[in-house]
Symmetry: D2
């Protein structure tokens, strides 16, 4: 297996190994249901049923292993997904390759309404401090400094590498969070590349994931108190008590509701 | 701390210890946001924000420890929640107390439309096989059989006991699944008792859990394809293309959609 | 892949799928060490080095999936290994096959010196209570009882089935604990069968596991205080201050020390 | 509770909250053993028994929560302990405090015999690249760059902060690995401070941990093949077949054996 794609400037995502397939997910599910599953007509229906009802067990029966080359600040977000196995290159053992640092030339501006996000507007800028850090790393190594200590001058944009192995349930959880537009652009690029590989390897499971997780819209109990569904001829008349909602939910939550309604009404 | 409630016939749920409080959740969240959280006006708002956006981290900072006495078949469902710590009485080490076995006198009938559930109708019945099993357990012990082997004749309705310690994030996940009407009645009784204890110990977090998780309704992407939201004066006219939905979603999924609509239109 | 072995009377262990190999473990390890591993001469040396120093990461990169048919009381011990994925047949969904219950005809006697173990002496006995339980299960089903409720009369020796998927690191941990003679005989039979399959699939890793984990002997700090190593010609003169050890360690711990010494002096 | 100690130059370790005590560990253990534990004379004996036999369950029943301020390169080692909960300050949300960067003035030299360690010899050096990185961080923020992007120029020696909550079993595992002299000096300083806090809060458990884990010596099966234990008057004559061991174990493993023998013969 040798599918590697380039991400950012020096990043890579390579699919190393797969355990299982859509069929294997189905096979595992049929163990749970014993002789009782004859009626579910097809693999596709069964996989969609499992995803719809968040019966995650059978999705844990599939596993994927990736090679990833990624900046340290991305690795720090990634590693928070604890249900996975990692083998990372050791900066105590190996020297960093200083020719490869994430070096954007266009910088996204701070979002005004999201305190932890970026806006769409950008400016050009060339990073200058890397040279100094890298020179100092070399000086320290030349003076005989321990690698584990010399590396502390390197920026968090330095690339690291690892093998990452994860079951499909937890890969879907990774994708749900990291494909989202709230995720930082840099990790989203990895998530998008990974999503393609998952889709190719598990087409039925991925389709179900898109339909039932990615593209779903949840109205919470708080919102539903201000949404009136009146039965009318051929459907419902839905009205939102914006005045009361604004008062009780607050401005921020009301905006979230508006965005959802806009989304479903597209 | 000594709050123990009775569950089923011989079952118990006791709250042994708590780490944290609503305040501690807030305190942990404020670490994440550094100096940037001044604007969120209150603890309640912040906790609701965290729950609404599934920022689970701060909820992991609270922990509860319970003593539970429960039938083995309930324990087998419970133990599938892996992110928790358990100390169970050892049937290899201690003799089972045979006077205490779960002994319902009313039996729920098999649900017709849910292959793994019960219906509302019941019948009376007195279990007779327990005596035989218990007598045989005694005989085996009297003959000098190892306790680890003698116990194999006991029914899965025998009571076991354990300490169960879990963080609040995973307790909410337990409750979400086990308070649901699809969960088996017996484990639901424990979940209901636990929910009360959580509500008392973490009133703000529990309120948010009810609003944003328990009482939410999710329309998935598959359903949204057949739900049309037309903007009309004062809100939306929502129509569902039942014909097409029936054809493409199938009968089972269509029923699920109908139930959701009935729920939101109440 | 179709390797299934019989365990106990109706039990089975089947190897369903494997991810990785000894080579894949080595490949993952070499990522950690970057360009620095040229000097380790062979795969075997590297795997042994990893195992000796408990660098478990690369062993997590291999995964095995098993089909298991096992009595419920064994399943209850097994499931305590939390870092694994399970898909179990649902007793709420499927009827138990009552012709298959673990039915030993020879019973091990209670160990005198180990409160949770068996001794070597046995007696013959034919279990009689199963018929009653099974008849009652049938009666309940015939009366229309929900399957989830009818099953509570069945003994913990009833067979269940599951898929169990686990990485090699955690499989070794399972084997370390369940191959031990303190483990209950019944689960040990599964561990022994699994060990053979692991050995066949990962011969180098398994050899290292035997050498560095299974066959190791640990002297703890408490014991070392009473073991004197005097350097003598060609080695050491080792004397144990049994009097003082007995006084301070107590009888039980002293016995454990004696057993270790007997083992290494074989 | 307010116990905070300083680590390195700007680092901190503060104990925020505790669940449980030595007594609570004992209480949990007694659930496992039911009525059968009367004979174990004292809490101390029981805790030592549990630790000696690696019955970790009761140690999971205790929990500690720490506030930690630590350099990013230390955080990256720390976070590999997956069985713990973390709430970290978000560099996407908050600006880094640039006045605080880990700035050693003495550098350890690379170890000659350990490719990932430091030696005892040092040299003086003043880091110069930090100023450049920090100035550039300010420039980027002033230009309106998103915080999530501006931070990429900062060195891995920048301090981050988090709440870290972990059960006592996994704290002991953290300490076992991070107190070891193979662990990098910087994380070892945190481990040492944590060890003191654990010792104060759980004196019996910590004493057992020292005796049975930290101060134990393990001879593996491979080594035992070359160690002959001959029973002599009053003990054993232990001889090591160094010639054969060197040939078959190799130089590296033989050195490890020599170090162990030197340790026990002290």
């Amino acid at each position: 297996m040798d599918k590697t794609v380039k991400i950012l400037d020096y990043g890579e995502l390579g699919l190393i190994d797969i355990m299982g397939s859509d069929d294997a997910i189905v096979e595992a599910a049929r163990v749970s249901y014993g002789k009782g599953t004859k009626q579910v007509s097809s693999n596709r229906s069964l996989i969609r049923y499992l995803m719809r009802h968040q019966h995650w067990g059978p999705f844990e029966m599939a596993e994927m292993k990736f090679y990833v080359k990624l900046p340290i600040f991305v690795a720090r977000q990634w590693v928070r997904h604890r249900t996975a196995s990692i083998n990372e290159i050791s900066g105590r053992y190996s020297e960093f390759d200083m020719s490869e640092v994430y070096r954007p030339t266009t910088f996204r501006k701070q979002s005004q309404d999201n305190k932890q996000g970026s806006s769409d507007s950008c400016f050009s800028y060339e990073i200058q401090s890397y040279d100094k850090s890298q020179t100092e790393y070399s000086i320290l190594l030349n003076k005989g400094a321990a690698k584990e200590l010399a590396r502390i001058v390197l920026p968090v944009s330095s690339y690291t590498q690892w093998y990452w192995k994860c079951d499909l349930r937890n890969i879907f959880n990774f994708l749900r969070l990291r494909l989202d537009f709230h995720a930082q652009y840099e990790i989203r690029m990895y998530a998008q590349a990974m999503a393609k590989m998952v889709k190719e390897s598990f087409p039925l499971a991925y389709e179900a994931f898109e339909d039932y997780i990615l593209n779903s819209v949840t109205f919470n109990g708080s919102e539903l108190r201000y949404i009136n569904w009146d039965i009318v001829d051929g459907g419902y008349k839905v009205t939102i008590d914006f005045e009361k909602a604004k008062e009780e939910l607050g401005k921020r939550e009301l905006n979230e509701l508006r965005m959802k309604l806009r989304h479903v009404a597209q």
